[in-house]
Amino acid sequence: MIQFKKVSKSFGTIKALEEVSFEVGKGEFVYITGPSGAGKTTLLKLILREYQPDSGEIVLEGVDITKLSDEQIPEYRQKIGVVFQDFKVLPERTVRENVEVSLAVIGVAQEAWSARVGQVLKLVGLAERADLFPNQLSGGEIQRVSLARALVVNPKIILADEPTGNLDWETADSMMELFEKINKEGKTIIMATHNKVIVDKFKKRVIKLKGGKNVGKEKVHELEKEPKKEENEKGEGKMKVKVEEV
């Protein structure tokens, strides 16, 4: 369904991604893992066409999306559901309105909103909180608003950027169960995470990034250790690329 072919992206001297290649099949659930700064978010943003790669091809259902024109981008994005790392919910709209906006964007008639919104809010467990504003919700609940908004448009692919990042383990677990349920309904899910516990518990295929390179596809139990300290200390400076065969 999605193919990355030697995709590179740098920001000035920072090489966020370097010749990354992988493939995700239809209906698959994969993790993009790697330490902070490995390029996970950049990878997802490339799929969403928020960034353009410097080189390489990103093919989605046979279409090289790097070649889409500006006018084609909105329609392309409407096919993708995104759970953003920073939620990106609209703070001045209620839970229900946040989800409705998604439907409005893809041009669903207003009569059909109520049923569809009700259904996803029930699925993510926010039915009773439909009329609350984001600042009245807990972190996990806001995360689920973001998920509800992604799901309501019935997208082919769901991109999730550290959807369990700010959650306690219990809430994170229930969030993951939700994702598994959605995946069983046939949706392709690409989830960026550095949460080893999650990756260990909910076993999926892993695409591992390290310093901007993908270092192979491994099974969960073979996952390498958490980011090394020296790498984190380098911060935003030039990342030394380490390829570790595990």
């Binding site: 969403l48 981008i73 909105p74 409407q78 001045e92 964007v105 207003q110």
Partner: protein, 304 residues
């Protein structure tokens, strides 16, 4: 309610003073515009009334044939010094007399159509031609007498009045246009500033909408709608205030000018005039709003 309208109203509610300032400056603009439009219209009418008053009347002999009359009428019309040639038949002459003496039925009953000769009335492009033309018309075989009505009493001639009116009308129009233009520019600026502020407060929302696949049109719609709401509110309020004003002063104006039709005679006609002005203002208002919001939106895009 449509989601874009709802968003627009939400933003108006959240920043009532911005809305208030936009609406008040637009109201002022369209109030003045309506006043100026009516003034320009009535000063034009006043000018036209004096311009088209006959200055020379050629009374025709009793036995003239219509062919003779139209021959002379054509000849006069072709003459560049002569304007607004009009044939007044005997019956029309009688009616005019009757109307003029309507206070005194006795006078009007005394006469029969036959005493009133038919006539050709016309005005002159310039009064200096008067002597020549009168002499020339007098020689026409079908003309009985020639009357010259240019003197309005006192020392002012019709020509003086017309040229003074022309100057006044010109000033009213130029002054009005400058005033309306300046107010229009100020409203436009205020509109752009307020839309710009709206774009700034909506920045986060716009980015999110963009990422979930909203088209530029979708993102723009509430902003354009908001600008249109301001302009329509301004047009309707400004026009309504002006309308009330004219409603209040019209009887006095009509009484003052008497037979001179500075304002449309019937209430109905006057209403039509005001409705036409309203239509034009709504059109201009929507253009202002569309242009202003497009400009603000495209500027915001460039700075993103």
């Amino acid at each position: 309610m449509n989601i874009h309208f709802k968003t627009a109203f939400d933003y108006i509610k959240r920043a009532p003073f911005q809305a208030l300032s936009a609406i008040s400056v637009l109201t002022l603009t369209f109030f003045v515009s309506t006043m100026v439009a009516v003034l320009a219209y009535s000063s034009g009418n006043l000018l036209k009334y004096f311009e088209t008053r006959p200055q020379v009347i050629a009374f025709l002999k009793n036995e003239v044939t219509p062919q003779d009359v139209s021959a002379l009428q054509n000849k006069l019309t072709a003459d560049e010094r002569v304007k607004e040639v009009r044939y007044v038949s005997k019956e029309e002459a009688l009616n005019i007399y009757k109307e003029a003496t309507s206070d005194n039925p006795l006078l009007s009953e005394l006469v029969s159509p036959s005493i009133f000769p038919a006539s050709l009335e016309f005005s002159l492009a310039n009064l200096s031609y008067a002597e020549d033309i009168i002499a020339q018309v007098k020689k026409e075989s079908i003309v009985d007498q020639v009357g010259f009505t240019a003197s309005l009493g006192g020392e002012s001639t019709l020509q003086d009045v017309v040229s003074r009116l022309k100057t006044i009308t010109l000033y009213v129009r130029i002054g009005g246009m400058v005033l309306v233009g300046m107010l229009g520019a100020v409203s436009f600026l205020v509109l752009i500033v307020i839309i710009g502020m709206r774009m700034a407060t909506r920045k986060g929302e716009i980015e999110i909408l963009d990422l979930i696949g909203a088209t530029p049109k979708f993102i723009r719609s509430p902003i354009v709608i908001e600008a249109l709401i301001y302009s329509f509110a301004g047009v309707l309020l400004g026009w309504a205030i002006s309308f009330l004003f004219w409603l209040y002063v019209t009887p006095n104006i009509v009484a003052y000018f008497g037979e001179i039709p500075v304002l449309p005679k019937g209430t109905w006609d006057f209403l039509i005039l005001l409705v036409i002005i309203l239509g034009a203002e709504l059109l201009i208002g929507s253009l202002l709003a569309l242009l202003g919001s497009m400009l603000a939106v495209s500027r915001a895009k460039r700075t993103r």
